[in-house]
């Protein structure tokens, strides 16, 4: 059976990953502070504004940032102003 033969209507409810990330505030232009990368391919924890967000590794790999040599490798240093 080809898909087109099926006359049923399917509501589209899933969001693309980009939309899901956008809803978490991960949009172009925001500043992101990497906090931690869990070992063995675990999630990456980043800070955006006041929020801390855990991102699965596949997701994190698709977030592109500028100026950070290796996102999430180092925990951020709290430097005195």
């Amino acid at each position: 059976m080809s898909l087109a033969d099926d006359e049923r209507a399917y509501p589209v409810v899933g969001l693309s990953l980009a939309d899901q990330l956008a809803a978490e505030g991960l949009v172009a232009g925001v500043l992101l502070v990497p906090e931690r990368r869990l070992p063995l391919g675990g999630p990456v924890v980043v800070k955006i504004g006041g929020a801390r967000i855990a991102l699965g590794r596949e997701v994190a790999h698709r977030v592109m940032v500028r100026g950070v040599p290796d996102v999430g490798v180092r925990a951020p240093r709290e430097s005195a102003p």
Binding site: D19, A22, R36, L38, G41, G49, G50, A51, I53, P81
Partner: protein
């Protein structure tokens, strides 16, 4: 009433409200304090936890605002109006099915930039909004202050600083929302002249132009009826058609992909204009924040996680056993003699009298001895953990492990909740995006021992075998759950999703809240369990006193005695446990009390430590109780529920037989 996010029950419930009563919907990001505010405004407890996804169904309550009735509706938290809520619906659909006349947007006063986009999205729907800048106490303690007057101008809507915890500003915010809601009703019914509900334009010109174009298409839908909607969502068309939403609102939902980024930009800009931070406080990094960072680091996060788990189990066993002897002593000294005297006077027939005492005295006593003490203690500890905000850290830490079971770490939140009771945890899986994840998570949840099963394991093993064997039993159960999960992951096809989760802030739990939540859950537990326990004991009493019991047990003997090496009456208690898991031990205890005299310690006299170990593991792993089965059936369908139950029985019996042989009891 519980209504599923996707179910039509919500629509019916919503439409029941007379049109004259304004409906105010609470909308906000997960974990921002909606349910706490809802409870405060309605004066009645609503479940709240420091973790996202606590509320999974719509709750509607009538309140009285200055002598005028209004309905408040609490909703699940959401990151955006177009975010999926479960596998079948999106948030806006759930929201609009509640037929709100105004929206009370609950935002975090300490992080407005993150919360304003949702407020803008609500405003774009064309409904009046009121903004509650919530968690104001926390924001203040971090040195963050919000210029509510300025924000109110920007948003063209009332803004209040609120704290659901202390009640600050809650009444004012609700009054404003009800006022706006009532005005909208008046305008729609023609008793008042309309005021512009079109919000001020806040987005870049190209975005506004695109919205305008799409809105005019929706405008024609409105005049021509839903048929003109073409390929667009029928539900949306319907809502626009009946005027539940403006055509601009429908347009912004359609165009979420381009409007959302604009909203985030506006949110950042406005937050920059209205938020002030006191420099001295902002520099300090509070302990809670450091704890949050540590809790997700492998070191000390993983040892901490193990310590917390063990600590909770040990604390529950220690406090539970003390409570147990206290409660039994009190019962035996006070209620028991009175009940026995009353029954002997009121019931002349000796057999009937003895059977009644099984329920009214021995049944209650066994509940006080082996059920209540552990369950109550565990509820307190779990509520403490939930309010600390630690659950989301666990989700991050366990993401990798749960990944091997085909699940994302997010699932650990309902699984941890399942240690209290499986039923709400199964409902909690509604927020997972795919059916596969729901099935796998629900299976793990059914295998996760709930407080009743934890009480059976502790109550059976701690007094008669010791803490070590009890911990070993929990270890065995954890391994079996893991094995079951691995198997299920193999059997259910599909791809796993990845975690995208905002971490809850670590907070010091407030003892009053913890006690209230534990007590509330305990109350519903006792109301559901006590009657079943008493009736179950009386039935068992009749079977026992009339000798019928021995005929029934012969049916189960091949499995119970032959395979598991248990005394035959234990099999009967195990079957009764289908009604409620704690019956497994309580009926056994009742039996022991009847056979060997009062004092729960007597269980140990007809079952060896090894037998109790087998019995505890089999009870904990096998077959969900009837309430869990009903929840599974309702959420996932009968076939899936049956398959899961069958699988747990198979795993339990297989493991039980092997353990029985290893321990030399069979």
């Amino acid at each position: 009433m519980n209504c599923s996010p996707a179910g039509s029950a919500c629509v019916d419930e919503a439409r029941q409200g007379t049109d004259a009563v304004p409906t105010i919907a609470l909308v906000g990001r997960p974990n921002v304090g909606k349910s706490t505010l809802f409870a405060r405004a309605t004066g009645r407890y609503a479940e709240a936890s420091n973790a996202p996804g606590t509320t999974v169904a719509t709750a509607r309550r009538r309140v009285d605002v200055d002598g005028r009735p209004a309905d408040l509706v609490d909703l699940p938290g959401t990151a955006s109006l177009t975010a999926p809520i479960g596998e079948e619906t999106v948030f806006w659909s759930l929201l609009l099915r509640a037929r709100p006349d105004a929206i009370l947007v609950v935002a975090d006063a300490g992080d407005l930039a993150r919360h304003l986009p949702l407020a803008l999205a609500c405003r774009d729907l064309g409904l009046p909004i009121v903004l509650a800048a919530n968690l104001a106490d926390e924001a203040a303690s971090r040195g963050v202050s919000v210029d509510t007057g300025r924000l109110s101008q920007l948003l063209a809507a009332p803004v209040h600083r609120t704290s659901g915890r202390s009640g600050l500003g809650v009444a004012d915010a609700v009054v404003d929302a009800v006022r706006l809601g009532a005005r909208r009703i008046a305008v729609r019914s023609g008793t008042s002249s309309p005021r512009s509900t079109i919000p001020a334009r806040a987005y870049p010109l190209d975005v506004e132009a695109a919205i305008e174009r799409r809105a005019s298409e929706w405008g024609s839908v409105r005049s021509l009826g839903a048929a003109a909607a073409g390929s667009a969502s029928w539900e949306l068309a319907d809502l626009v058609g009946v005027g539940a939403m403006s055509s601009r609102g429908a347009a912004t939902l359609d165009l979420a992909a381009i409007v959302d980024p604009a909203r985030w930009a506006v949110g950042r800009r406005w937050a920059g204009q209205v938020v002030a931070r006191s420099a001295s406080r902002a520099d300090r990094r509070p302990l809670a924040e450091r704890l949050g960072t540590w809790s997700v680091a492998p070191w000390p996060g993983i040892p901490l996680f193990i310590a917390v788990t063990l600590g909770i189990l040990l604390a529950m066993m220690a406090i539970g056993s003390v409570l147990s002897s206290l409660l039994t002593t009190v019962w035996q000294a006070t209620a028991s003699p009175a009940i026995r005297a009353a029954v002997s006077v009121a019931v002349p027939d000796a057999t009937v009298g003895r059977a009644l005492l099984w329920g009214l005295d021995d049944g209650v006593l066994s509940m006080l001895a082996v059920g209540i003490p552990y369950i109550l203690t565990f509820y307190v500890l779990l509520a403490f953990l939930e309010d600390s905000g630690y659950l989301t850290s666990v989700a991050v830490l366990t993401d990798r492990v749960l990944g091997t079971l085909g699940l994302s770490g997010r699932v650990s939140i309902p699984i941890l909740a399942a240690t209290g009771c499986n039923v709400p945890a199964i409902y909690g899986t509604r927020l997972l995006a795919s059916r596969r994840e729901r099935v796998l998570a629900s299976f793990l949840i059914t295998m996760t021992p709930c407080s009743a099963r934890i009480a059976v394991v502790s109550g059976a093993l701690v007094p008669f075998a010791g803490v070590g064997p009890a911990l070993a039993a929990f270890g065995v159960i954890a391994c079996l759950t893991l094995a079951g999960g691995l198997l299920a992951n193999r059997l259910v096809p599909g791809r796993q999703s990845t975690i995208v989760l905002e971490l809850a802030p670590i907070r010091r739990p407030i003892l009053g809240h913890v006690a209230r939540k534990a007590w509330w859950r305990f109350g519903s537990f006792v109301r559901a369990a006590m009657p079943l326990m008493v009736v179950g004991s009386i039935v068992l009493g009749f079977l026992y006193e009339t000798g019928l019991i021995w005929r029934l047990t012969t049916v189960l003997d091949p499995v119970m005695v032959g395979w598991l090496g248990l005394p035959s009456v234990a099999g009967l208690a195990l079957v009764f446990a289908f009604l409620r898991k704690e019956l497994a031990l309580q009926l056994l205890a009742t039996l022991a009390i009847v056979q060997l005299g009062q004092g729960a310690a007597s269980i140990g006299s007809f079952m060896s430590a090894g037998q109790l170990f087998v019995y505890a593991v089999v009870t904990a792993v096998s077959f969900p109780c009837i309430a869990t089965l009903a929840a599974l059936t309702g959420e996932l369908g009968r076939r899936t529920a049956m398959a899961m139950s069958g699988a747990t029985i198979a795993i339990a019996l297989l493991a039980g037989g092997i353990i029985a042989r290893a321990l030399g009891v069979a």
